[in-house]
Symmetry: D3
Subunit: 64 residues, 6 copies
């Protein structure tokens, strides 16, 4: 309470994920005044073939 | 804006995903009048053991 | 199977939603070869104060 | 941990929602062995004009 | 109708998933009165490095 | 890219939402190195009768 779902492309390091979860949690606690322990965050990674923008897969943009 | 999340069973080819993302984006642009570049789509694949319908895993239906 | 969740700003007409759901479903059936009846779509509308891009609420962009 | 999101059509009573959240939580605790307090459930209601199956809005099925 | 998305940490057995999907479906049918066949459930597993609570990754809690 | 969905209880002020979206976006840009403009955030509010923890609706906790 609250729960965050982050949809991102795969390939981030554990260090980046650790810092991301820490800072997102901090942003929630600061602005909503909820206990830190109540914040849950799930990072849902998708392959570059499984995400698109503007109708084009990221895998195909990468190839350009 | 908008963002689409598609929950589907794993096993689709990149060709199918490419065409799906292209056509879903086209359907959004046509009906909502938003710029094509603003449409983001994530395909979230789940294993056949991780999805169920009618209380039964798709993995178990497959076995039948 | 599959399920689509569409996150969009509120304010669309029922006509737009009807056509959007029809065309998104068509795109799924065409590219994944699933039965039309198996496609479920939820449109999750958010207020202009409840969605942001680039760190700015859409409500504030609108004001500009 | 885990977090459940339930996408349903609007119009359920508080009694139904209360019992649904109770029983869904029970099913998670029983099968995953997690503490009851760790289970969070959000019910995301959509209007009958904002959800479709088989390419048709539930609002239009209702009319039939 | 309805659709459930369950965000959980990876590592559950197929037996646990099978029973979880069965019991969650039962809880929905019992309380919402919908046909069993209409209930769809996706289990979205995340790695222990991809989920956090209280600003800390589950992978780091595990290490303690 | 990425997209964040935040599931929270209803009742926050626009000022809180504005600051939350700004700070969450900052946390993403800092840790993932993506352009600020690419970050999209949707706040999905649920009524106190539509969210539960530990098998109990927040509406019922509130009453205690």
């Amino acid at each position: 309470m609250p729960e965050l779902i982050v949809y991102l492309l795969e390939g981030r390091s554990v260090e980046d994920k650790r810092a991301l979860v820490r800072d997102l949690t901090g942003a929630v606690v600061k602005n909503l005044g909820v206990p830190q322990e109540s914040v849950t965050i799930s990072l849902v990674e998708t392959a570059w073939t499984d995400k698109g923008k503007g109708g084009v897969l990221f895998a195909d943009m990468k190839a350009r």
